[in-house]
Symmetry: D5
């Protein structure tokens, strides 16, 4: 199942530049891992903001939560999950969806 | 440039089933055309609603408007466009984005 | 997977009492069918409103949409779907959730 | 009477990991107690968020408040209570509701 | 249990003055009945608007819904129900509430 | 004139338990005083929240402000005032309101 | 007591130009009457909109409602009333307000 | 003085294609007139919507209202006006603004 | 040109009573100055809140900003400006407005 | 492509006057640079607020983000980007837009 996920990041005020750098490096490593496993499919930046839209894949909401919560930046994220259904005109849909 | 587009459809109350069917058929034809030209990349249904999320590609907002406005259902659509920037961890990003 | 679904019903202004009665009877039949198949688990009325909260079960958002859209009142419904994940303290959770 | 309760948790910034662990353990004990007494019926996690939806049972809003306020995490919770009425198609409704 | 209820009235556009008068007369009769039975305790008008705030009493949300839905104007009402708990400083509270 | 007043309380993060206890005691004394003078008529707790609804009486908005601002918790309150007009079906209305 | 009143006007779709002209003339007559009686103190247009802000004076919310409801355009108005208290720095305040 | 103006257009449901064409032609003529007089400085389309952002110039809000209300589409427009002040870094600002 | 201005004040948490007193005294002096110069015409308190509505006069939005920003409390204010146009029924309007 | 950009600035509470002055000077230098390169076209102050509206030009949302993020005040900004399409009546539009 696919999910459209909006993530807004709000760093705590007192965080040092080193701590922020360390978490950012870990975040990128974890992101590559989630891409390799097929959970994080696409990721876009909202221009001008510390916010992104992502296309995620997971068996269900429980697995999706576990994957998002595994990100090092998770404690500083405000996450909104939009569940997605197959659309009859989506070019990548399986054949049986046409009949819906 | 990519755009995340949310479309809510509100059919006018008096529309006949035939008219609705005719427009829906035309809509699917137009959608296939926009997929073939690379403008409509993905399309998802919001479960339980006459609403979809789509990933669109266009040279700029002017071309995007022309493509969306060419849809037969356009007069009945409430459209919200979210401009998207490349994200450094997106798996499909061009190499030069890594340096941002 | 479980979903919390909020449904607001808005009858069109000109609908006759007979048409409304006919649809309501069909709606109850369909609701019983969805309960028998395990898709509609619980249903509550929001006091004072033509609105309900429901606990639904479906394989994914695509099946959920198909089930909701099969209701005779669907054309008059404004539906909001909240995807639900297992919570570690839920009394009905499977044993493996405790480890999350 | 049943209530649908949405709870968002916001930990204070300076809380130590030990303090957080201590409160979390106490919270799970209290939750089991509320389940055993029949007040906390179901509990779901909102994916990606420190937020849950719960189905609660209490004699009235006063008892519900007392039960929610007894949770160790209560000082850090933003709670919204939705009162629920029996719905004529709910599969668990008492027989006399059918006549409404 | 007490409930704070906000009611906004929106008359349908084509309603005749006679029909509106007939419903208004029936509404006042029904309101007196609900006051006599102790369900409608207080009623205030929001200045400048076709909207009121009311203090209602009912065994639970199901009875409250039945009472509100019995009003002749119900089909034209947008109702929001706020469940109320006893407050320790309320001058009319029962003695046992002081201990909460 | 009557006013419906919604009050949300937000304690500052660093307040000690003693300071909070001291203010709470003073608050209850002041509340009794306002009830004796007829300004605070009813007070309800919003279940699950540090929030209340109150029915207040004052000559006008200036006196109402003075009374609310005299509460010891005032610096930590977010207050919303709803002015109320007599409603023709209110059971406690003066006789001359019936003619409106 | 003074009130800040926001009024948005929404003419019904089928109203004839003559009907609209007739109501507008009556509205201006009534407005002059309310100014002469000291209830309508100031009136401003929100630029670009069928909306105004007005400064009104009335004994209380009940009188204010009666005055607003006497306007011929009232059935087509969406009204929001803001109760106003004297401010210590207002240049027109009575002397005793300085002490607040 | 400059104003940022957002205009959303909502055509009435029953309008004929001819009537819509006639108004649109008149609108473009009027728009050119307002550009020649220096009142309508820039005009942008919100992609996917019947909505525009415009940069307008007028002596004050009264003149701005008169100019916007002179547009043939005005009866079908929902207009929001944002007043603008000179910004010290604006490249077109007059010299005396630098000192602010 | 007149402006309706809403100001919400939020004092920073750590401010001492002396500092607050000093700023408040300076604020009243500055307010009298702005009244003498005709910029601050009226000022009302929103009951129960640290918020006011004011009627201001200025040549344009740039002068209005300079006057509001000159207030000692400005760093702690959340300000919303509503531009106002003359209304044909305003009792203080100049004669030429009647013709609009 | 043009973008309408709204920027709200929120300085952190503890920032010293010197630090704020240093960042402000750097901000003005950077702004002039962005004007010289044609990215920052116009800039307006929202009266009474630490907020501005700007007209920006960039190849796409990725370049726009890079330019906005290069501002020294960026860590303290809340930015909202509105993508803009050419409007047929804009006086500065290229000739080929007339045909849309």
């Amino acid at each position: 199942m696919e999910f459209l996920v909006n993530i807004r990041i709000k760093w705590p005020e007192g965080m040092s530049a080193q701590e922020l750098e360390r978490i950012s490096v870990e975040e990128r490593h974890k992101a590559r891992e989630l891409q390799a496993s097929g959970h994080m499919v696409r990721m876009w930046r909202v221009p001008g903001r510390r916010e992104n839209w992502g296309l995620w894949r997971a068996a269900d909401a429980t697995e999706l939560h576990a994957k998002i919560a595994s990100l090092p930046v998770f404690p500083f994220m405000d996450v909104t999950v939009h569940p997605l259904a197959w659309h009859p005109v989506d070019p990548t849909r399986p054949a049986e969806i046409d009949a819906c």
